[in-house]
Amino acid sequence: MSKIKCQCGHENPFGTVLCEACGRPLTEEAEKSQVVDMRYEGSARRSQTYNKSIIDKIWNFFSSVKVGVSIIVAVLVTSAIGTIFPQKLYAPVTSVNATDAEYLAYYEKTYSFFGTLYYKLGFYDMYNSWWFKILIGMLGTSIIIASVDRVVPLYKSLKKQRTKRHVSFMKRQRIFGEGKAADPDESLMKAEAALKEMKYNVKMEDGAILAEKNRFSRWGPYVNHTGLIIFLFGVLLRGIPGFYVDETMWIREGELRNVTGAPGYFLKSKDFKLETYTKEDANAVFGEALDRNGPIVKNFQTDVTLYKEKEGSLPGSEDLEYVKDYSIVVNKPLKFDGYNVFQMDYRLSELKSMTMQLIEKSTDKSFGEFTIELDDPKGTYELDNGAKVELLEYYADYDGIKDGEPVSKSPIPNNPAFIFKMTTPEKPKGEKSFVAIQQTLETEENAYKVKFVSADTRDISGFTIRKDKTLYILLLGGIIFMIGVIMGSYWNHRRIWIQKGADQQLLVAAHTNKNWFSLKKELNAVKDASELPAYMDRQDKESKDERQEGAES
């Protein structure tokens, strides 16, 4: 593609508006304008250069700020729609592994037509929907390509800028002044000293001064974008197994089970505690509050032991080694190997064991008691006087009789039922009976029965298991993002040009990317110190609407 050769001899890339070296306007539009657009120093966006292959076309599409802003708007709008009805995670659907149909039914029932639409379009699980991920991916692409396309030419043109700019460049600056000076050379010397005093980098050559300050603030938006990209990269890593775990599990008191999401680790729950504030340990004021509100929980705690599978042992072998004991309290998770196990939930009083006694119906004489551990019942219980009870069948969650046999609808002892065979010296052949809660069935009239005495319960702890290796990447991204914001917000890139014209003339021009007020203040100080000609701010005169050049981000 053709280069644009400026009158000063510098070759500029295609698409350049202001010559990189001397600042002459290169397009007709720039020549006509009173004040030039200083955005990106009038340099050519890289993408503008070529537009031939399909790759270039895609590249140029993402390079456009308009496209970038449209994507941001699209993300905002869809995110807003995603908050209208609850997300899938918060939909009160009963079963743990609810099917899609159950979710559809919920949205349909609760929000009628719009609920169905919401579900069908994927808004109900927006963050996992393909279109939302594509939008975010396009946003990331746009950020990268648009930044690269701008930061490189901007860097180059700021590096190449000459001290002495062409008069046409000076004249088209927003702040410009010209006039005769008594002694231009002395003015320049004084101006140089004054500018140095104000911490400007001053270059003087060929009867011209370029004073520049805080150029680094121009990189703020790009540093900021780098932070965003690192952040998005961190989020992307969460999709790789091993980087991010967020699971839940239930564990019963006394139970030893593997830790969901943390293969090779086991937990044994020794005790779950739920403590409430008592009047004794509360002072008078809180005592009143307790009277008014009833018990208030002070502590949820699960005492656990952590075990680890021995090196080289197989799943299921239960070849475990002790790691540590710990009391998991709310906000004090059990930590191991990058995992955090949080106390999140609890259920009280699930049946653990049932104590029964065998009695003779006619006399109410007891042969003694026996206890059935519901998670591991024994087959035979020997009682006094040669009597015994055999447990023939056990139904943990009895759900009536189907097809002539009792059925259990889950392995959880919500509603235990048993088939017993009772043997006594008087009835050596034994009698059978079916015993459920508040129900006893006998095939024929029995002389003996098993009578419920008492039950023992246990609590269940609900844990959340989390592991997030991407956290530090997200943190790094966030810090870089903030550094970029601060760089661009609290410092401004200021430049002041002063040069000698013909016939004892002095020309002054100045530019900043924001905060023109401070620039003018500094320029006034220089002017006073070195008898520079008066300048004017054309935008101030032409329109009050002070245009912020913050659009660079």
Binding site: N128, K133, G137, I144, P315, G316, Y394, P411
Partner: protein, 176 residues
């Protein structure tokens, strides 16, 4: 010449960047599971469980043979239905080098024993007490059956009840 080189170089760089970004997007859409989930073609993870008689069974003991690995629970109706069919073909296919391992997910021994006796099951019945094997195989619904070939590779994962004919054809499919 230098210009043409620069052009191709630029084109290649742009193409590579765009492809990488596209791959990142595709990856984020495809990766649904945070934990590695077993798939057909993966090596079946080895495990060691004890059967009702107290004998240890390791999956790796059956290398060179097909393994019909069935996860089940006594309370699950489809499990009850398919058990007799598995029993029917168990004998026949043992001679042909297909082994049946059935894994009960964490129920009391008494319960599993009475179930086995009720259905006269003769194949090894293992109990996964700590649910460790269940976790290793990412079992969600019961019954789930893994068909494992003689090289220890997973050939098929079945997450629903199987008919008698299906069981037969599945066993044939992993015959060494």
């Amino acid at each position: 010449m230098a210009k043409a080189n620069k052009k191709t170089k630029r084109l290649i760089i742009r193409a590579v960047v765009l492809i990488l970004l596209a791959l990142a997007i595709i990856f984020s859409i495809v990766s649904k599971d945070k934990v590695k989930v077993l798939e057909v073609g993966d090596k079946a993870p080895d495990f060691e469980l004890v059967d009702l008689e107290g004998n240890k069974h390791r999956l790796s003991d059956y290398e060179g043979q097909g393994v019909f690995l069935n996860f089940w629970g006594t309370w699950c109706p489809p499990c009850k239905k398919e058990m007799p069919y598995i029993e029917d073909y168990y004998k026949e296919f043992t001679d042909k080098g297909v082994h049946v391992l059935s894994v009960n997910v964490g129920e009391p021994k008494l319960k599993v024993e009475s179930f086995r006796n009720q259905y006269d099951l003769t194949f090894p019945v293992l109990i996964d007490k700590t649910k460790d094997v269940k976790e290793a195989y990412n079992i969600q619904p019961l019954p789930t059956t893994f068909l494992i070939d003689k090289n220890g590779k997973i050939v098929k994962i079945l997450k629903s009840e199987m008919s008698k004919e299906e069981i037969k054809s599945y066993m044939e499919s992993i015959q060494p």
